[in-house]
Symmetry: C2
Subunit: 171 residues, 2 copies
């Protein structure tokens, strides 16, 4: 592996970045009323429940692809959770897969080229960034849904674990 | 500077990542009809013209802060462009500032802590990532606006320069 330019983000920083986003997305999920989560949408788009299901179902197959170069879609596209509690549970399970898998990724793997799911050929880190970007993108759409429902969404810069921020949680 | 974990993204990769997102956001801007760009919104939110103005006005002051540790807000919050052509022109000008400034950032600067705009204290790379995230977040909201207007938005994974992708442009 040749470093053509200096380090912007280490693997630890990228994981923390993603996990911060996942904490924020979980807060957005929590902010939805149970029924609106699976029924409300705008412009003919998917519900936030469906968008969040997409996000979480990408984690395990991607980690398997990164670690084992097995890019079968296991679990992606399966029928998703049908209640808010189940969705939050599945969200947390995906978090655990991410936390357990990430430290096992060999350093050189991040810039190896892989054909992810037979869909695109790119450095592994680009595929990982795609998942993060996809989450931010669809979560931003969840913010619109919440606003349209008259609900104030969580602060965008709110990324820390809930237990570490009692003041923010009460705000 | 201590590397606690391996490199996930180099500075070149992070710039290319951001520029790819900026190309996509420009396509979203282009997809808006002139009047809807500055008038349409949902849920009491800002128009996409206002959101895009925020994105582009963050670039120059942030680059000045990163390069000179001068975190005054120069230009941010100024009245924005009032036509689509002017907005696209200002977008491209911000792209040039980004392209010219980025190579001047010293390698060690990315992980130095800075108090950005007196608002938050973080490693410089975290502030840069915040701008990218903010753009993805608000652009996702622009996708909802376009869908609500009955307009198909650009493909999310479409990040290459326009001239390099005649097939995609025609799709």
């Amino acid at each position: 592996m040749t470093n053509l330019s200096p380090t912007a983000l280490t693997t630890d920083m990228l994981l923390e970045h993603w996990q911060g986003h996942r904490r924020l997305t979980r807060r957005v999920l929590q902010a939805f009323p149970e029924d609106e989560l699976f029924t409300f949408s705008a412009g003919g788009m998917r519900t936030f429940g469906a968008l969040a299901t997409e996000m979480l179902q990408m984690i395990a197959p991607t980690m398997k692809g990164v670690l084992e170069d097995d890019w079968t879609s296991g679990g992606y596209g399966d029928p998703g959770p049908e209640t808010k509690d189940d969705l939050l549970g599945a969200w947390d399970a995906a978090d655990r897969v991410l936390a357990e898998s990430w430290p096992k990724i060999p350093a050189e793997r991040f810039r190896e080229t892989a054909n992810a799911f037979g869909l695109w050929t790119a450095p592994v880190v680009t595929t990982l960034m795609y998942l993060i970007d996809n989450e931010i993108h669809h979560r931003g759409q969840g913010y619109v849904y919440l606003r349209m429902l008259g609900i104030d969404p969580p602060l965008f810069y709110q990324r820390r674990p809930a237990l570490a921020e009692p003041d923010d949680e009460g705000a």
